[in-house]
Amino acid sequence: MADEIRRFSEELARDPASPVYLQLGEALRRGGQLDLALKVALRGLERHPHQADAHDLLARIAVDRGELERAFDEWDMVRRIAPAHLGARKGMGYVLFKQGKYVEAQTYLSEASELDGEDETVATALAMVRVKLREADGARGAQGARGAQGAAGPALEHVEHLEHLEHLRLFEEITSEGGEHTALLLDATGLVMAGTYVTQDGRDVAQEVGAELSGVSDEGRRAMRHLGLGDWSSLTVETDAAVVAMAPMRDDALLLVAASKAMPLGLVHRVLDRCVERARTWMKKGGA
């Protein structure tokens, strides 16, 4: 990534009007250098104020900085400049989801789905929003608030078809407690079996993460065999922005928990242990 940033920086230095600032800003954002990424994006916008992708980049940086309102405004700007911009709809849907405005989130994500019905990330996000709507509707029903049920009713269309998406929510109860974390169960080939992995800017990267991690269980076992250290029980990876903890499951499957770097390592491992138990029960019941 450092080489990439250097290459983009040199290219931008040679030609300050080059659109490469978009790639540079994105690389810096992914590397966690948010202040620099913001500076690059703002300078780019000075030269290209009507470039939708520049506002899109600024929005993603804002999300990483925890500035959801600003991110929403930037994506709104993208939508005005480029009405068919898929990322803007997804981003706005994500911000509204994070703010607990599920009905509004569904509206934007439905628009995104109309723009690209093949986009799996939109389908997943939409499913999650509808599940939340169903939960909210159920809670209201339990309280006997019949009027509120009516208000949410139209938004719950197609909910009856969501049962097959239950695997997405396998770890939701555990991961929704205290802090930002996510859990994913991968099979030996890196395919997602359960859980989700949605980044702060609303991208579902579960398949990408799974593909990169395929074979980790096998490599961990081989490394331990060479060293005579017994079976491996966990792999913890600290990155610039997060902590990712993994544990081996039966049939070379892999369970992964990603948490904010602010979360203590011990707590991350406790969450991992609970997710392992949940996944074992689910797999025994024939979930896989």
Partner: protein, 116 residues
């Protein structure tokens, strides 16, 4: 340069519970320098450790999590820890009872001193 690397690696191996330390090229898994207890299969393990670290780095990149700063593989009878910089990976093999918090700090400090 070699003396400097060797002294850094040796200092890590003297930490309590550490069985061996290796500096490995992340790209090809070849050992740059190592201090290992007798009987340890250095080259094969170096290749596996580098591959594991590379996988972790690529998946972190795919998830937009930035660079990998530290990796720890825990097993029933010990730990493997790795930290990388400039396509080099510093790897430690330690006993199950080793103080990983302390080793982690020493590894990150050592990595700062490794300059090629």
């Amino acid at each position: 340069m070699k003396a400097n690397l060797t002294s850094i690696i040796s200092a890590l191996t003297r930490q309590r519970g550490v069985r061996g330390s290796l500096l490995v090229d992340e790209t090809d898994g070849v050992i740059i320098d190592a201090t290992l207890h007798v009987g340890m299969k250095g080259p094969a393990f170096a290749a596996l450790a580098a591959s594991l670290y590379r996988k972790a780095r690529l998946s972190a990149d795919a998830a937009g999590l930035g660079g990998v700063t530290f990796l720890r593989l825990r097993a029933t009878e010990g730990h493997v820890c790795a930290a990388g910089k400039n396509e080099m990976v510093l790897v430690i093999i330690a006993d199950a009872r080793a103080n990983i918090g302390l080793i982690r700090m020493e590894m990150l400090k050592a990595l700062e001193r490794v300059a090629i």
